[in-house]
């Protein structure tokens, strides 16, 4: 629009985790400024873990994020286990995968139901929906609660799980508890269906916007990779997770206390859409059906579709959880002593743990000395890796919507940010630290 003047400052975007600001300045139709700035206080986690014992690191790094604590804990444990050569049993592997599914279920349901749905229904929050759309809200709450019950069963609790530790679990559920969980998951399918149909009816409200970008996620020939895999990219080939630095090239921008990252292009995207784009054929049958409902196929370059990809992942996580419990039951759940104490031989060295958390690929990289104390740590958070892409998407979207009223432009830009489901306080976990 030729003569459009616009000055937009969205201070602390709502309905996202953490604090982010949108600054837009348009003069006579020319975009002079379009910025995604992070003012969040840095938290110095990489400094905090230095000097701490290997047995404490997962407890500390869990506190990077309240929503992805299971993911952070698992990435942390994988890094520690990589350094010390600790192997976990096949059973514990399955239980950890279940834990990650529980997190995916919980986080995606919270995001879709509490943070995105209000935009699609034209309200400010889920609170008025409790009276205007009680059935839908109760369905979301039910699914969310079941996801929490699942993580309570596997990890002790969703936020800052206690049962996860180097070498396995401090306590595991009984087979009776797992089969009862399986039934609960099966019983949730109608609720899930209702949510999918709700989003299908609202999907026209999601802008039809694309900007070609690179997608990065874990991939695996065996499964839809969440817990294990190699780093995959839609632009380049795969690489082992130990080579993460060649993918996630972090850099600092002055307007942001959070770092950004780039690889083959100026920016890349991680998260549900990235995983969908890279691992579509490994999705569970019902998940693929859900994708068909929305006509979503790889490779999709519409960031707003990240929301739909999350919905598809909820279905996949549910189905795959049922499959994992079936496998555990068939193999017979081996009980462990009332208090589990894995044999750990402390070793010096470095190691990387990578895991897909709801928001994307997460890397924890630790170095330990021969006494088992951490000497160095590096964590690359999914949202850090998305910040660059968010800003470039904003810059591409803005000219296309410049003819709309100001409130609608603001809403669209916020919806764009929300589609990424950013976890901003995680992404400001650290600032580059030089020790002299």
């Amino acid at each position: 629009m030729k003569n459009r003047n616009l000055n937009l400052e969205v201070h602390h975007v709502t309905r996202v985790e953490g604090h982010g600001n949108i600054y837009v300045n348009v003069r006579d139709g020319t975009v002079e400024k379009c910025e995604w700035a992070i003012p969040e206080a840095p938290r110095f986690f990489e400094a905090m873990v230095v000097g701490r014992q290997y047995s404490e690191l997962h407890h500390i790094t869990s506190r990077i994020c309240g929503i992805c604590s299971i993911g952070h804990t698992l990435a942390s444990l994988k890094a520690t286990e990589a350094v010390m050569g600790i192997k976990i049993s096949e059973q514990d592997l399955k239980l950890r995968k279940l834990a990650l599914h529980a997190e995916n279920l919980q986080s995606h349901m919270l995001h879709l139901g509490f943070l995105v749905l209000p935009d699609l229904l034209g309200v400010g929050s889920v609170i008025p929906l409790a009276s205007s759309n009680p059935k839908e809200v109760k369905t979301v709450l039910r699914l969310h609660r079941k996801a929490n019950e699942m993580s309570n069963l596997l990890c002790g609790r969703t936020t800052h799980p206690q049962r996860l530790m180097p070498g396995g679990f401090s306590k595991i559920p009984s087979i009776k508890e797992l089969t009862s969980l399986r039934q609960k998951l099966k019983d949730s399918v109608p609720d899930l269906q209702a949510v999918a149909e709700l989003f299908k009816s609202l999907s026209p409200k999601l802008p039809d916007f694309t900007r070609e970008t690179e997608f990065i996620a874990l991939t695996s020939p065996d499964e839809y990779a969440l817990y294990d895999g190699k780093i995959g990219s839609t632009d380049t080939g795969t690489a082992p997770t130990s080579e993460y630095l060649s993918f996630a090239n972090e850099y600092i921008v002055p307007i942001s206390t959070a770092k950004r990252a780039k690889h083959a292009r100026e920016s890349y995207m991680v998260g549900a859409l990235a995983r969908f784009n890279l691992n579509y054929d490994k999705l569970s049958p019902l998940a693929k059906k859900t994708a068909e409902m929305f006509d979503l196929k790889p490779v999709c370059h519409n960031p707003f579709m990240n929301n739909i990809a999350q919905l598809i992942e909820v279905v996949h996580s549910l189905e795959d959880s049922i499959k994992l419990i079936n496998e555990l039951e068939a193999a017979g759940l081996k009980s462990q002593p009332d208090y589990n104490k894995p044999e750990i031989k402390v070793k010096a060295g470095g190691g990387v743990g990578a895991v897909e958390v709801p928001r994307g690929i997460l890397f924890h990289d630790y170095t330990y000395n021969d006494k088992g104390y951490c000497t160095k740590a590096n964590c690359i958070i999914p949202t850090n890796q998305n910040h660059g892409n968010i800003e470039l998407d904003m810059k591409a979207l803005l000219p296309k919507i410049l003819d709309k009223p100001e409130k609608e432009i603001e809403l669209n830009l916020e919806m764009l940010v929300r589609a990424y489901d950013p976890c901003i306080s995680c992404s400001t976990h650290c600032i580059k630290v030089h020790f002299v």
């Binding site: 709450l141 969310h144 936020t159």
Partner: protein, 245 residues
């Protein structure tokens, strides 16, 4: 007239606010008793007219102080939720780095980064009327504090250590399992939830009012921890409280 409540977050992981979202159906019952006028994570609307302010996260920069003071001005009651807000939480771990003279931390180019100072609980800056301890908060305890505030009574927060709850839950003591626990000096109220999961108490709810710290450190050492590791354990969550003594 339902009291108006607002939620704010500072330097933290937002896990405590997530716990409130995790109230699930109880959240709806809670909404019958209070009117939420500001909760950035969950709603677009915001109002500065609130009676009760719930604050999560530590104060880690000078610019946070102004925001805290403004909230204190607006609210009749301020409640600190979560360890970061009540005792400095895990953030206070980094306070030990800054005071280490051998290493100096050099910041990058951005001047904003110089804003960081000693991470502290919010009561270091403003008066706090009620505390919901824990990392994360316990949902039941949160509801109990809210109910107490609605009834006009002082919330009943234990002054005794986690051992009380642990013994009632008939747990095998962590020390008997070869683990090192700080439950004996940590404030109860969590129903010993971590020891129930066969791990230890890490101290996330902060020290009791009059802990016998020397005795606890001696116990840790007696059971096999080195002196340095015992001191290190006290720094995990007690960093700010220890410094204050």
């Amino acid at each position: 007239m339902k009291p108006k409540v607002a939620f704010f977050d500072f330097a933290g992981c937002e896990g405590d606010q997530l716990q409130i979202a995790n109230l699930e159906e109880d959240l709806l019952a809670l909404l019958d008793q209070v009117e939420v006028v500001s909760f950035r994570e969950v709603m677009k609307e915001h109002s500065d007219n609130y009676d009760i302010a719930f604050i999560e996260g530590s104060c880690t920069r000078l610019q946070d102080e102004d925001r805290l003071k403004q909230i204190r001005k607006n609210a009749k009651i301020v409640v600190a939720i979560g360890s970061c807000a009540t005792i400095g939480g895990i953030n206070s771990l980094r306070n030990y780095r800054e005071l280490d003279d051998v290493k100096k931390i050099v910041y990058g180019d951005s001047a904003k980064l110089f804003d960081a100072y000693t991470a502290r609980p919010i009561d270091a800056v403003i008066t706090v009327d009620a505390y919901v301890h824990g990392c994360p908060i316990d949902k039941e305890e949160f509801l109990n504090v809210v109910k107490s505030l609605l009834l006009g009574k002082k919330p009943d927060i234990p002054t005794y250590p986690v051992c009380v709850e642990c013994k009632k839950n008939e747990n095998v003591c962590a020390f008997e399992r070869g683990q090192f626990c700080v439950g004996p000096v940590t404030r109860a109220g969590c129903n010993s939830c971590c020891i129930n999961e066969e791990t230890i108490c890490w101290g996330c709810r902060g020290l009791v009012d009059n802990p016998n710290e020397n005795s606890q450190k001696e116990v840790l050492i007696k059971y096999g921890l080195t002196v340095d590791d015992a001191i290190s354990k006290f720094r995990l969550y007690f960093g700010w409280q220890e410094r204050r003594k």
